[in-house]
């Protein structure tokens, strides 16, 4: 297929000497040029001393490593320009280990480069492919073996064998079933589901751990909240907060563009899920003037004044909003769960 377009055919044979016929012919391996250390015994001695010096430095560095390990307090912090404040132990151990290892390597390489032979030698390559005789022989042997097995002739055995081999790995897959529970409707609900009109669930300020009144939240501020009853030392706290986390924002009611969104809030206080609908990072960057909230992971940007609509970035749908109101004592409460699942979307998600 691919023809060579060499000036003159050589290349494959190599070694012929450049004749006047072909200016590009392979002149063959160049003659060996001696190094200084090959001809000057003093240079060789010097190289020998250099190699040994590096090995000696390595030994000293290892001693230094052990001494640092024993002597330096792990809590000791030192200031080293330009690194700043660093752990003295880490710095000493790392540098001594580094020097100990590096000097062995440098010594060995210097030894190889200056004192070991630097004669380049050719070695022959052999084709990877077998020759035709071997090939014919192997194919014949295989054919004999295959014929003796009757694998090709007894089609029923062959097909049932293939069938059984194809099915048997299924057992391995089935065994993985108990790794976890079935999804069921777990992703559709959050901890707010226990709230009802009759028995609303107070919103607890994430920082103060106390219920909040509407006047506690200033216009333009962003507050984070969790449902009442969820405590940090609960066994499933991480799993709950991963879905329940709320972001409370107060916007002057006339600035709220989305009517449904205003209805779900209370006097301009809107409660959105804090979990980004892209892949689930908690949203934490809020721009007061524009009412935009930005997820720091992938920069999905939501307009909190407009029903948390996505205005930039890879998120596919708005942040779910929680309906809130106040109870008799004036504390902010939720009266039910989010209308749609929080967090990233999934196949079974219908809303």
């Amino acid at each position: 297929m691919s023809a060579e377009k060499l000036p003159e055919s050589h290349g494959s044979e190599g070694h012929e000497v450049a004749g006047h016929g072909d200016p590009f012919a392979d002149p063959g391996l160049p003659a060996h040029a001696p190094r200084r250390t090959d001809i000057d015994e003093r240079a060789a001695k010097r190289a020998e001393r250099q190699v040994s010096l590096m090995f000696v430095v390595s030994m000293l560095a290892t001693v230094g490593f052990i001494a640092s390990y024993v002597a330096i307090d792990p809590d000791k912090i030192v200031y080293i320009f330009p690194l700043g404040h660093v752990s003295a132990l880490n710095f000493a151990l790392g540098l001594t280990l580094g020097v100990a290892l590096f000097c062995i390597g440098a010594g060995a390489v210097h030894w190889a480069r200056t004192l070991m032979s630097d004669h380049e030698l050719p070695a022959e390559r052999h084709a990877i492919e077998a020759d035709d005789d071997v090939r014919a022989d192997v194919i014949e042997q295989f054919t004999t073996g295959a014929a003796e097995s009757g694998f090709g002739r007894r089609k029923m055995i062959r097909n049932t064998l293939i069938g059984s081999m194809a099915l048997v790995p299924l057992s391995g897959v089935v065994l993985l079933r108990d790794l976890g529970p079935l999804p069921e409707d777990k992703l559709d609900h959050t901890g707010w589901r226990v709230a009802t009109e009759a028995k609303p669930l107070p919103l607890i300020n994430m920082n103060t751990n106390k219920p909040m009144k509407a006047e506690d939240i200033a216009v333009g501020s962003l507050t984070f909240a969790k449902p009442e009853g969820l405590e940090e030392d609960d066994e499933d706290f991480q799993q709950q907060i991963a879905k329940d986390a709320l972001m409370l924002v107060r916007i002057a009611p006339e600035d709220i563009k989305d009517n449904d969104s205003r209805e779900l809030g209370f006097e301009g206080i809107l409660a959105y899920s804090k979990i980004c609908t892209h892949v689930g990072c908690p949203i934490s960057l809020y721009e007061q003037q524009t009412h935009h909230a930005l997820c720091p992971c992938h920069q999905s940007t939501f307009d909190l004044a407009d029903g948390a609509r996505v205005i930039f970035g890879p998120a596919g749908h708005p942040l779910p909003q929680l309906k809130i109101t106040t109870n008799q004592e004036g504390f902010l409460v939720a009266t039910g769960d989010f209308a749609e699942p929080v967090g990233p979307s999934f196949w079974e998600r219908s809303a």
Binding site: L6, N90, L101, S117
Partner: protein, 552 residues
């Protein structure tokens, strides 16, 4: 044979034909040889020839960092507790005192602050992992741009590719283990990505996490994957990779005395042993020193993971940057119908990610099919002499870099004072445009370099000596290249494009030319046609110019 005769005569003392060993070492070697056959092994390998070129050490860096990762990894497993059980921290790092955290995070804090040398080993482990993936990428580029992946080495290319992919994922799993705020965010991202898989996404999520996010199983499970499953597979692949390197023997650059049938270089013992063995210590030493002075992954600064908190520098390690770029630039398309949601915004990047990788894995087979070349290749191509391949490689790197910009768009925005939205829009367009531009620039550049080589061969090297001729003209004296240089610059072969079979055969019957054949001819033309290579200088051209009536 004397042994046979002595055995038949029933002599009590068995005789050996072997010469008496000269010393203790030889007799020990004889003993081992009788059991393991080491002499036959050593015969082929003790003085095995390795060619020398700086770029051949890139693969060595991969090997050595892998060894360093295993050594330090074993140390870390002695102290690390892969558990998500909750504890309250009472350690020597005051800012986190009294804070709730998982045992995984607490034990990582313990390794970093109480175990003497623990911080160093943690840093060496992480730095070595970064250098490992970087070295694999650069090593792969070396193999790609020099055409070293061609027959008989295609399978080894695939092994190397698998090692890269496994290395990237093992990096991700390892980085997730300390259960700090940054790594937990990474796992959250993975959860969202899994949920985007149609039909089975929620099931995979529940099974992998042992329930809802984050649950308590993910760290112990990742631990097993990180220290046992993936490294086990990698070790097997690595050994296979090295066996094949040994078996195929190393490639070499064209040069005097170097042919497709030989390999020219230094023997394994002693030179290569000393150089390669020494190089291990150089790599280990440099990584140790780096770990002493440069902090990596300071988990104490991030704090323990909480699903409702996030740090703003939520970035994956750089080698995952291109997948992060894909996920950041994809518009958030969701298709909702019949009570189901198809999350294109996450699924499409998730599908492109393996496709970009797979395109690299199969490249040797595609190029082999286009050239139809069935011969073995051991002499490397200079990148300029394969302009289309070099262009494709450069295009791939540019795509990678564009996506890396996408993956770090927040950092680019803050450091260069740009709008994050503008960067994202630029990357969305650049994803399609930049690789194409890069391809054409690189190809042109290669052709220019080929022309320069041709010029050098025909007109010699510029000496910098200006001569004034009797009639007043100034010329620069050019010196002829030495024969070795002339040979090296003209040693590459120039592949001719595959030609379409004639429309009519010799009997005048119309021959059918299939679509596949036509496509292949077209591709071959674009690879090796007139626009893709400069004709090499011929001996005649050289004679004409150097025969005395010189142009200079």
């Amino acid at each position: 044979m004397s042994s046979a005769s002595s055995a038949s005569s029933g002599a009590s003392k068995p005789a050996s034909t072997r010469a008496k060993p000269a010393n203790k070492a030889e007799s020990a070697a004889d003993w081992v040889d009788g059991r393991l056959g080491i002499y036959s092994l050593a015969k082929a390998n003790l003085r095995k020839i390795f060619p020398d070129h700086w770029s051949f050490m890139l693969g060595e860096i991969c090997l050595y960092t892998f060894v360093i990762i295993i050594l330090t990894g074993v140390y870390l497993t002695l102290f690390f507790k892969p558990s998500m059980g909750e504890v309250v921290y009472h350690g020597s790092y005051a800012p986190l005192n009294g804070i709730r955290m998982s045992e995984a995070y607490a034990s990582t804090m313990n390794i970093s602050f109480e175990v003497r040398g623990g911080l160093l080993i943690r840093q060496i482990h992480h730095w070595a992992a970064l250098v490992f993936v970087a070295a694999m990428l650069v090593h792969m580029m070396r193999v790609f741009f020099t055409g070293a992946f061609r027959k008989p080495r295609e399978i080894n290319w695939v092994f190397g590719f698998l090692l890269l992919v496994l290395g990237m994922f093992d990096g991700f799993f390892g980085y997730s283990l300390p259960d700090d705020l940054l790594s937990g965010t990474g796992i959250r991202f993975m959860e969202g990505a899994i949920l985007a898989v149609p039909l089975v996404g929620t099931y995979i999520q529940m099974f992998l996490f042992g329930g809802q996010f984050p649950g308590t199983d993910i760290v112990p499970r990742f631990f097993t994957i990180h220290v046992l499953l993936i490294p086990g597979i990698m070790l097997g692949l690595l050994v296979a990779h090295l066996i094949l390197v040994f078996y195929h023997k190393h490639t070499q650059w064209a040069g005097p005395g170097k042919t497709e049938q030989n390999v020219v270089g230094m023997p394994l013992m002693p030179v290569y042993m000393a150089k390669a063995g020494g190089f291990f210590f150089l790599v280990f030493g440099i990584i140790s020193a780096m770990s002493a002075i440069a902090t990596i992954n300071p988990i104490w600064a991030y704090g323990p993971y909480r699903p409702d908190q996030v740090s703003t520098d939520a970035q994956p390690d750089w080698y995952m940057g291109f997948s992060e770029g894909l996920i950041r630039i994809m518009p958030g398309w969701e298709i909702r119908a019949w009570g189901h949601t198809l999350n294109m915004g996450v699924m499409v990047p998730l599908a492109i990610f393996p496709m970009v990788l797979a395109a690299i894995a199969v490249y040797p087979f595609i190029e082999g099919w286009i050239t139809g070349d069935k011969r073995e290749h051991h002499i490397l191509d200079r990148p300029r002499n394969a302009p289309v391949r070099t262009g494709l490689g450069a295009a791939w790197i540019s795509l990678y870099l564009v996506l890396l910009v996408g993956g770090g768009n927040d950092l680019f925005a803050t450091h260069l004072h740009l709008s994050i939205n503008d960067i994202t829009y630029f990357v969305r367009v650049g994803f399609f445009v930049v690789p194409i531009i890069t391809f054409f620039i690189t190809k042109r550049w290669c052709l220019g370099l080929q022309r320069r080589d041709k010029d050098k061969v025909l007109h010699g090297r510029e000496t910098g000596v200006i001569k004034r001729l009797p009639h007043g003209e100034f010329v620069e004296v050019h010196a002829q290249l030495p024969p070795a240089k002339l040979h090296t610059l003209t040693a590459h072969e120039q592949v001719q494009p595959v030609e379409l079979p004639a429309e009519v055969d010799e009997n005048g019957v119309a021959a059918k030319v299939g679509v596949v054949t036509k496509t292949r001819a077209k591709l071959s033309e674009s690879f090796y046609g007139e626009g893709s290579q400069i004709a090499k200088p011929t001996a005649e051209e050289h004679h004409e110019i150097t025969s005395g009536h010189g142009h200079h």
